[in-house]
Each structure stands twice: as structure tokens, then as C-alpha cells.
């Protein structure tokens, strides 16, 4: 593996981890913009804009974009989160020129009115689709409540109302403000030639507007709350709870990653043995999510409504026990093995490397090779877990419940 990085004059950052033995190459434009950067009333504009990217520009129509990507057999797509809009693809090395040109086209679409009107229907369908996924509804509600008054509480999809009301002019203004080259990182993993990458980047990205947008990253101060959404007649109850955890730049984030595996992985964790293995819950998991300036412990429980209350108590008991007594060396070692194996296996494919390569750069401006990652993982000790628990004890301040129950005790 060879790492390269540079920056164009307009501020576009370029990083590459190259491997001549790979069969493919993966490329991603990581744009530092998402729901948290939206100023009301344009809720959902980042995600809508991500869709509009595939509608092309003066040179390529929407049909062209999809057709050419398919002609080179690319796996390509885009995603929008609270903080990053990512446009990515993986393809055979000989198509790097075509792929770079198309992915660069996506970042600066024409935003034609008729395309905008048609895509609005698709976005409304997507909102409808997620509305039928109850765990997603619970996630949206808990994020909204936990980060009330903080930009991280803004919905990624937006609402039927905000999308219906959104105009293409508002989208244009948002695009001009957020899609400056200084907000974008181009990451490349796999089989490519650095000189060629640079040449292509100059060719397709030199003309992008220079500059960058700042983002306030104050740590959220959530006020405890419980939201209950009585859903259409469904069988299971979904609970999501959030509590404060380390932010993306906090050195404790690796300890948090390990702790979430030990306590709430979907197999062989404390929550698994207490709730899932005995058949008390369909899912009982603890996740750790890191953002710019804030982080969350995310507890997810899905079970028979009648067992929700006792299951929540069981989870609380687990958290109390961990907060008071920590974890064992054996648990820590096992989690390290588990994560190390995931890291190595994922990194065997360029597409698998792309997200950690780009993510590390966007959040921390650092390159972490798989070997470095394994070393960092091994450096986590029981003491660092203890430090983490003192600063960010397991628990929640916010609860969202979706399902047939009229009330869920916090």
C-alpha cells in the first residue's frame, strides 16, 4: 500500500491509498455537508441535492450519467448523512478516466427545473418508504429530540412539507454555499496510478470554486425527553435511546467503539446474552456514533411490546453494572480480535477501504493504514475504557418509542 496526498489550489484535498494488486479501484468525493448544515426551511436539501447530482449537467443528461456508468460496469451511488454527502463508485482500473469525469460531473449538476420537479416525486416516495420502516422512524425521532436546538437534530430526508415547499432556487443557493472545493475530499483506494489521478483531478476539478464553509461544532447539551409515536397496527415495539458519547476527534472514540462491541454487538455481547439469546428481544444493541464535536451512545431495542419494560430494565442493569465495575480483560481482548478481523476482511476490497480512508481524512485530517488501525486498536487498555466510562457513562438522556404502546416509561 502506498499513500499519497495533496491539495489543489482551490482547496480540494486528494488522498490515495494505492494497491497495484487490487482488481478494482474505488473513488469517492466526500463533501463536508449534510443535514446539520441546512438552515431552515430547507430541511432535506442536502439529500435532495444528492439525488439531483445524477441528473447531469450541460454536457451530460441524466440518461447519459446512468448509461455511461453502466457502460463501464461501475458500482456507483451516493449517500447523505448528518455531516457528509458521499458520491462514490468502484470499477475496473482501465475506466478511471471515465469514472472520474462522471463523478466530478455529479458534484456540479445543472439543477434543471424539470428534473427538480420529477425528482421531488421520487424523494417523496423515499420518505414514504422510510415511513413504513419503524426502526427508521424511531431513529429520526430520537435524533430530533436528543439534538433539539442543535444542528445534528435536523432530519436527513426532511418532511413531506419541507420537500414539497423546497424550490430549485433554494437548492442552488445551498449548493453554491456548500459545494466549494475546500469542503471536498477526493479519496481513491485500490489499483490506480497517482500521476494519472493527479492529471485527472486537475482536468476535472481545477475549475471548481475555491473556498470552504465553516460549521459550528459545539458539543450538544441534550435535555432529557421521551417521545412516543403510536404507529399503525404493528406487532413489535421499537425503542431508540441516545446518550452523550465521544466526538469524532476525541481520542476516546476507539475505546468507545470497543465498548459498544463488548456491551451491545449483535452477537456475543452482554446485551446479546441477556436479551437476544433468551428470546426476549429480536434486537438489543448498543452502537457508538461519532460526529463533529458530539457523539452518541445509541441503544436500539425491538421486541414484543409486553416485554419492553422489563427489557429496558435489563439494559439499564447492564449499563449500571458496566458503569460501576467496567469490563474484563478477556472481554476487551475478544472485542479487539473481533474488530481486527472485521478491519482486515473489509480492507481486502478497495470499496471496503474507501469509507475509512475518506472518513479519517474528513474528520481528523489523518491517514490511518490498516496496520496503524490495528496498532491503535491494541493500544486501548482497561484504563482507557475506565476513563471513557467516567466521562461518558453508558445510558441515555433521550428515548423514542415507535409501536403499539401508548406509553413507555423512560
Amino acid at each position: 500500500m502506498i499513500f499519497h496526498n495533496t491539495q489543489l489550489d482551490n482547496g480540494l484535498q486528494i488522498i490515495a491509498e494505492l494497491n497495484p494488486h487490487a482488481h478494482s479501484v474505488a473513488i469517492g468525493y466526500f463533501v463536508r455537508t449534510g443535514a446539520r448544515d441546512e438552515v431552515m426551511p430547507v430541511s432535506g436539501v442536502s439529500h435532495f441535492l444528492e439525488h439531483m447530482a445524477f441528473k447531469g449537467n450541460e454536457k451530460y443528461t441524466a440518461d447519459d450519467v446512468n448509461r455511461i456508468f453502466d457502460e463501464i460496469g461501475a458500482n456507483y451511488n451516493a449517500s447523505t448523512s448528518e455531516e457528509i454527502t458521499l458520491y462514490y463508485g468502484s470499477f475496473l482500473p482501465e475506466y478511471i478516466g471515465t469514472a472520474m469525469e462522471l463523478l466530478s460531473t455529479l458534484i456540479y449538476p445543472s439543477l434543471r427545473q424539470d428534473d427538480f420537479d420529477m425528482e421531488k416525486k421520487v424523494i417523496l416516495e423515499e420518505i414514504g418508504m422510510y415511513d413504513d420502516l419503524h426502526s427508521f422512524t424511531a431513529y429520526e425521532k430520537v435524533m430530533q429530540a436528543h439534538f433539539q436546538g442543535h444542528p445534528l437534530g435536523q432530519s436527513i430526508l426532511g418532511s413531506v412539507q419541507s420537500i414539497t415547499d423546497l424550490t430549485s432556487e433554494q437548492m442552488r443557493a445551498y449548493h453554491a454555499k456548500q459545494y466549494m472545493a475546500g469542503n471536498i475530499t477526493l479519496a481513491i483506494a485500490g489499483n490506480a496510478d497517482w500521476d494519472q489521478v493527479l492529471e485527472l483531478a486537475h482536468q476535472f476539478c481545477d475549475a471548481w470554486p475555491a473556498g470552504s464553509t465553516d460549521r459550528p461544532t459545539d458539543e450538544a447539551q441534550p435535555a432529557p425527553s421521551t417521545q412516543t409515536i403510536i404507529e399503525k397496527p404493528i406487532q413489535q415495539q421499537h425503542i431508540m435511546q441516545l446518550g452523550p458519547a465521544p466526538a469524532a476527534k476525541d481520542p476516546l472514540r476507539l475505546a468507545a467503539e470497543l465498548l459498544s462491541v463488548i456491551i451491545g454487538d449483535d452477537s456475543n455481547s452482554r446485551m446479546f446474552w441477556t436479551l437476544v439469546d433468551p428470546g426476549l428481544a429480536e434486537s438489543a444493541e448498543l452502537g457508538f456514533n461519532e460526529y463533529d464535536g458530539s457523539g452518541t451512545w445509541l441503544t436500539y431495542l425491538c421486541s414484543d411490546p409486553e416485554l419492553i419494560q422489563s427489557n429496558l430494565e435489563l439494559i439499564q442493569q447492564i449499563y449500571n453494572e458496566v458503569n460501576s465495575n467496567g469490563i474484563t480483560q478477556e472481554e476487551l481482548d475478544r472485542a479487539k480480535n473481533k474488530i481486527a478481523s472485521r478491519l482486515v476482511l473489509r480492507s481486502e476490497r478497495p470499496m471496503g477501504r474507501l469509507s475509512s480512508l475518506g472518513g479519517n481524512w474528513v474528520y481528523r485530517q489523518e491517514y490511518v493504514s490498516v496496520e496503524d488501525d490495528l496498532k491503535l486498536l491494541n493500544s486501548v487498555t482497561l484504563e482507557s475504557i475506565q476513563e471513557l466510562l467516567e466521562k461518558y457513562p453508558l445510558g441515555h438522556s433521550t428515548t423514542a418509542a415507535v409501536g403499539p404502546m401508548a406509553a413507555v416509561a423512560d
Binding site: H21, A22, H23, S24, F54, A62, D63, N66, R67, F69, D70, E71, I72, G73, A74, N75, S90, L92, M118, E119, K120, K121, V122, L124, E125, E126, G128, M129, D131, D132, L133, H134, K232, I234, Q235, Q236, S267, N268, W273, V276, D277, P278, G279, L280, A281, E282, S303, D304, D333, R334, N337, K338, A340, S341, R342, V344, L345, E348, R349, P350
Partner: protein
Amino acid sequence: MGKQLIQTHQFSNGLTLVMESMQNVQSAAFSLMVPGGSIYDQANRHGTASILSDLITRGAGPYDSQQLSSALDNLGVQRHEGTSSAHITFSGATLADNLTETFKIYSEILKAPHLPENQFDASRAGAEQALLSVEDDPRQKAMVELKRRSFPAPWGLPSDGELASLPSITIQDVKRHYETCFHPNEMIIGVAGKIDFDEVQQLVEETFGSWKSRDISEEPAMVFDDEKVFFTKQETTQTHLGIAYDAVPYGHPDYYTSWAAVGILSGGMSSRLFTEVREKRGLCYTVSASLTGMPGLGRVLCYAGTTSERAQETLDVTIQELLRLGEGIEESELERCKARAKSSLIMSQESTSSRASSIARDWFYLKRVTTLDQINDEIQQLTTARVLDYVHEYPARNFTILTIGPQPLEVPSDIS
């Protein structure tokens, strides 16, 4: 594609090892396919195989349930156990150096499971929760129900079982299922990664070679459904549509032609369904078609999710596109299918898990392994005339149509 090293060996007890050596990786992946899937569930005991696939890892040989999980976690095994119609499959991936120790543990799971009675209720409750989750996810439910209606029973029945059957399943049923189905005779072990064939052959001999063969369970008779149109009323935001029609099965001489026909409909974002239903009319976020099958029978299964006011139009437009395929195919459409095939075949060599499951599945269907070069050759030789001939021979008709949503849709009588 580059040279692929695929080797096979059948052991004296009937077990077949299929292996692919991949030198540019550090990992090894495996897929152990035991012929004990849901088609072997007894009538009114649908879910037995599914419960067995959970209970079987709750202790085996010298390990109790937690020790077993911990031993595999310590070896870094990313594992999955699942039930399909024909098999209970144990798959996993880990660093190649850990394969020997991993196989020793799996030989205990397969040959000496505890199947603890005191954990049976927990296992069954877990199965019930999983089925309830499908009830709550209309998209998943639509596809499960479409498969049920478009394939003959018991092949089309949900592999995870049925809620109504669960209460009558006992631990004895699960133990009987194990006794009947878990034998090496027709078991397939697929392994792919940075490994040496001779070593793996020896490893399998040591771990599974002494396992005694038994009488083979007979495949049950097939029962076809007469009904073709189904509606389930549910208070959902979208209406969820499933459409199925006949295709050729895997292993058929026209299989790759059939794959290309479905690819033109639904492979990539320039495909017909995506373009006509989503891009031009904005009717859906998701619309797709895929080829699925069982030995001897294939089907195209389509899905679309759309808000209820536009559901009728979505159904009409989707069916129109399925029918329109018979009117002609452009050269460029086929070329794009070929490009996608080549690229995904080459990229599959970056995933040991994908190769291990592919070669094991090939052995089940074909009793041989098709190399990536052979698949690529077959696809690259296709012509639009041949794909069109196929579409005329196996047209989109005799549809099975299923909708889940607030209101039923009108299904034109001349097409169903």
C-alpha cells in the same frame, strides 16, 4: 479474468469439498451447506429447520453456548448461520491462518451439537420475533409472500418458518430434523482464500472424514398454487407490489440469456424499469426485478413500493415494461449488461466470502464449478437476437401479482 485455481474432492462419506485458491488476500472464507433446509420441515411444523439452525450453535462438543461464541470470536470468525429452502448453511470468514482451528469448532457444531432442551423455548421465541419483524416490514413481507405464491410448496414457503406453526414445534421435532438431515452424504463445503488445497483436504478429512453417512432424506413432493392474484390489507404509507413470472433455472443452457434479459430490465440505473418507472415518471424510489430459483424452476421476481394514489399506475407501467421487452432490445442495452457482468465477475475475486458461497452453490446446482472465465465467455457471446428469442420463448405472462397496502389494485384479467 485471470487463472482460477479451483479443485474439488469427494470424500468416502459423500461430503464434497470445493475450493478456490486466492493468493492476493489474507483471509479464507467458507460455506458449509447441509441438506437440511426448510423443505424438509414436516407439514404444520414450518420453522423446524430455522429453530435448528439457531439451537445448533448453543453448545457443541466441549463448548457451552457462550464458550462456542467466544472461541469463534477469538479466532476473528465473522459468521452467519441461515436456513434456505434446501440447506442450513454455516458461513464465515477469518484470517487464513485461523482456518484449521475454526474448522475444528465447526466439526463439533455439525457432528456433536448439544441441542439443549432448556434453551429450546428461547430459540423458538427468537424465531417468532424474527417472523413478527417480517410482518412489520411490508417490503420484506411482499417478497416473502411473492416467493410463497410463485414457487410450489414446500420450496416457496418462507425458509424462516410460519408463525402459525411455531407453537406446535417441539424439541423432539428439532432433534429429529437434525438426525434426519445432518449427514455428510450431500453436504458441500466451499472454501476460498489464501489456502492450499492439499492442506484443506487433509483438514476436512480430519474434521469431517469420520462422520458416518446416513440414508438421504427424500425431497418432498411439490404443490403448485392455483391462485395468481393476492392482496393483503395493511395500513402502510406505501403500497408494496410484487410481480412474478416464469424463467429458466440456474444450470439451464439459457440461464445466462435469461440473466441478460432481466439485466436489461433491472441491472443498473440505466435499466428499463429504473428509467421508465422511477426516472421518467417519478413513481417509486425502489423498483427492481431479479432472477431467483430452485433446482429445475426459475422465476423473475419484481418489486415496487409506491404511495397508494400512484400504485395502480406503477403496476400498469411496470407490467407494460415487462411486456415491452418482447418488442425489441437495443444492442447498447446488451452491451451494458456485458460490461456489468465482466466487472462484477472480476471484482468478485476480491471477496473470499463471495467466492466460497458461489462455488458451493455451483456444486449444489450443477455438480461442477463454472469458472469466472466460462461465465464471462457465455455472457460475452450473447446477441440481442438470442436474448429476444429467449424472451419470446419465455415471455412475461402468467403473472403472480401480490399487493400489500390500504387498497387492492386492479389487475388486468388478460395478463394474469
